[in-house]
């Protein structure tokens, strides 16, 4: 009696489970169906972006404003990890035809690595392509075709510094590396960490090398071309090797913050905003997070280009914004909607929408777009470099498709005193070789 009841109750439980499972499947199938149907002009675009806070906020704001203007098209934002893990996801999804309807990805060398001709829909024939800034356009062009709309503004790879601290110690913004190091000595004497490094997030270690590129090209104007053709190298070019040497110097003189090996970017921003660290070599894109967390930093934190040898030739290394692309797997009504979305992103309304979502990181890459009047000091400090002829240049990764994947590990080693600058530079040349061979470039 007892056992039979138990058996029966177990059967009931099993049946319930099976029914629930069935119901669940039915449910998901139904909801999938409804999004496909729902009238002829109702389209949902999936939009893949990286998972940085600010990117996500911007994407959602763009989606909202776009839908307000184009009822019937909804933007659904999906996220992916940043960095090389994200590169991997992008490549895998593209190659399996499983990419979202539109997606955000880097411009320049990383864009070249996803085989645009094969995987992306060209948008050069769209009206908005004419309004793109030339500097940006060149970074989303492959085989003469334009593929992307700019997401966010230009960024500077530069040194963010604490202005009140500079005022207190009576320091001047340095134009040469020697002046910079002299400032550092005074700052250290005052008991503040002169240079903030955050190797808990390895990508942040690369700025002394990558952000030095304006100075490299000022000294060797044809470096980028020769570099692509395997004729110039970091290990052998004195100007290019400087970046690695600077990094080593900063470590050797003990100018880094004490917890540089484990600190992460938010830790670095905190040190900078609170004046416990003076200089933070980083991409100006972090300013949105900086200002969101420490509102006072909008005024207190400024920017100057990474100093080189020659004060007259010093200038800013500029990163092109990311691009929004349409994969070839997007077709039909979705393709039309996707093109509309790109046009919106690259329009004045798109810029305004992005500005609404958070602090602007630099000048927009669309010709009609103006910066809002209230921008953080960091962005204000970028403007003179960009307005002055010859005071800014695009970073190497936008001028050459060759970028080695291990630079961040190498710069961590150099900046931690594990490897010497010269050895690091040569190691990076080896790393770059693999990338060039993979791309099938001539001369490697």
């Amino acid at each position: 009696m007892n056992t039979s009841r138990m058996i029966r109750s177990r059967t009931t439980a099993l049946a319930t489970l099976a029914i629930t499972a069935l119901a669940l499947t039915a449910c998901s199938a139904g909801s999938l169906g409804s999004s496909e149907e729902g009238g002829s002009d109702a389209v949902t675009l999936n939009f893949l972006v990286d998972n940085a806070d600010q990117t996500l906020k911007t994407a959602e704001q763009l989606g909202k404003d776009f839908t307000a203007k184009n009822p019937g098209i909804t933007i659904k934002v999906e996220t992916r990890p940043a960095g090389s893990e994200g590169d991997n996801i992008i490549k895998t999804r593209l190659s399996t035809g499983d990419m979202t309807d539109v997606f955000l990805y880097n411009t320049g060398s990383l864009f070249q690595a996803i085989a645009p001709k094969k995987n992306l829909v060209p948008v050069g024939d769209q009206p908005f392509a004419g309004a793109l800034a030339d500097n940006f356009k060149s970074t989303v062009t492959a085989d003469g075709q334009v593929y992307g709309a700019p997401y966010g503004g230009f960024m500077g790879g530069a040194i963010l510094y604490n202005k009140p601290l500079y005022a207190k110690l009576g320091l001047q913004v340095p134009k040469t590396w020697a002046e910079f190091m002299a400032n550092n000595a005074k700052i250290k004497a005052a008991g503040v960490a002169p240079v903030i490094q955050t190797y808990g997030e390895t990508w942040t270690s690369q700025l002394f090398v990558l952000g030095d590129f304006h100075n490299v090209s000022a000294a060797e104007p044809d470096f980028a071309d020769k570099y692509t053709q395997n004729q110039a190298k970091y290990g052998t070019s004195p100007a290019a090797r400087k970046g690695f040497e600077h990094l080593q110097q900063v470590h050797d003189l003990g100018y880094e913050n004490k917890d540089f090996a484990s600190a992460k970017m938010p830790d670095g921003l905190k040190l900078l905003a609170q004046g416990k660290g003076a200089h933070y070599p980083i991409l100006s894109a972090v300013v949105s997070e900086l200002v969101a967390t420490y509102p006072a930093a909008a005024k207190d934190v400024g920017l100057f280009a990474i100093p080189g040898d020659d004060a007259a030739k010093n200038g800013l290394t500029v990163w092109s914004p990311g691009g929004v692309y349409i994969p070839t797997s997007t077709t039909g009504a979705k393709l039309d909607a996707a093109k509309k979305f790109l046009a919106f992103v690259a329009s004045k309304e798109g810029c305004d929408s992005q500005a609404k979502a958070g602090a602007v990181t630099g000048p927009f890459a669309v010709k009609d777009c103006k910066l809002p009047t209230e921008v953080p000091q960091v962005v204000k400090d970028m403007q003179p470099y960009i307005d002055t002829e010859g005071a800014s240049s695009l970073a190497l990764e936008f001028l050459s498709p060759v970028k080695g994947p291990s630079l961040e590990q190498i710069t961590v080693e150099v900046g931690s005193g594990i490897r010497k600058a010269a050895a690091g530079a040569s190691l990076y040349d080896e790393d770059v070789k693999k990338q060039a061979q993979q791309l099938g470039l001539a001369g490697w």
Binding site: T202, A261, I410, S416, I418, K434, Q437, Q438
Partner: protein, 307 residues
């Protein structure tokens, strides 16, 4: 044991020798094997051979180009590779050795007459059940040089703890220590099974003969737990050689390349989009692991038979 199992089928085969010997030997029709064969072929055989082919190409996931042994040449020139190999060996030997020693000691303790023995046995085993990534992330927080619990605790007793994961001298060993913490439960379990299966008569006889505790451990438990030792060594050595998840969760091979192992070198190449190169690396890893483990297992098992 091994020799008899080889002889028996040979004998049956000679006795039933005849025209349809094969049919007789297998009670199943060919169709019966087909589903398993298809699964095996599609999921195992084809990918394995495909990977041998792709290791000879420059493969960008979108297209591949045959380049002969170029990938292997590049792979062996990889500066991080020597470091990766040494680190892999250090990691495998350190974790495997520590697990043997600690596992045996813990097993001896947990087979003795102590209070709450069953509970203590399960406590030792709990870390094995926890997700590796979870363990890795937790210990990364604990081992943070400035804010981590470990260094805070050490500073209370006046020791200035090192940067466990950020100092190149300690990074790999710190990860190995966590690996041991997580894996020693399994080694202990195997040893407990081994020790429990030793007949009590031996220990009783030894006691009658006046053997000390150390003598009965050295002369009875240690040799008779040998099968357990072999299993623990093989399992943890293979685990150590192909270890990846814990290292990736804790240091990502860093700082720089200082705690890179072969598997993380290969993974980074895969991430960078060098698919052909990383496939070549996997072929190399396969060969290396086989080359180390096959002779070792032969050697250890032969000893076992001789005993």
């Amino acid at each position: 044991m091994a020799t008899t199992s080889i002889h028996t089928p040979a004998k049956t085969r000679t006795t039933v020798a005849g025209p349809d010997r094969g049919r007789l030997r297998s009670p199943y029709s060919t169709w019966f094997y087909l589903p398993a064969a298809i699964v095996y072929g599609v999921l195992f055989a084809i990918p394995t051979f495909a990977s041998f082919y792709f290791s000879l190409t420059r493969w960008s996931i979108f297209e591949s180009k045959f380049i002969g042994f170029g990938n292997f040449v590049t792979f062996f020139q990889e500066p991080a590779l020597v470091k990766g190999f040494t680190n892999t060996l250090i990691y495998a030997v350190v974790t495997s050795g520590t697990k043997v020693v600690l596992g045996l000691l813990l097993a001896v303790l947990l087979t003795s007459q102590i209070v709450a023995r069953g509970y203590l046995r399960s406590v030792v085993f709990f870390p094995v059940l926890v997700s590796t990534i979870g363990v890795g992330l937790t210990f990364t927080v604990l081992m943070n040089p400035e804010r981590g619990l470990i260094n805070s605790a050490l500073s209370v007793i006046g020791i200035d703890g090192p940067g466990w994961l950020t100092d190149p001298k300690y990074a790999l060993l710190s990860v190995a220590a966590v690996d041991v913490w997580k894996g020693v439960g399994l080694a202990t379990l195997i040893y407990i099974a081994g020790i429990v299966s030793i007949p009590g008569e031996y220990l009783e006889a030894a006691k009658v003969d006046g053997a000390s505790a150390w003598q009965s451990f050295r002369r009875i438990i240690l040799p008779l737990a040998r099968p357990a030792t072999v299993t623990v060594i093989i399992l943890s050595l293979i685990g150590g050689l192909r270890s990846f998840d814990l290292i990736w969760a804790m240091t990502r091979g860093g700082p720089g390349f200082t705690s890179d192992v072969i598997a993380s070198v290969i993974y980074k190449q895969y991430q960078a989009g060098f698919y052909g190169l990383s496939t070549a690396g996997n072929v190399v890893l396969f060969v290396v692991v086989t080359a180390i483990v096959l002779p070792l297992s032969r050697f250890l098992n032969r000893k076992e038979v001789e005993l």
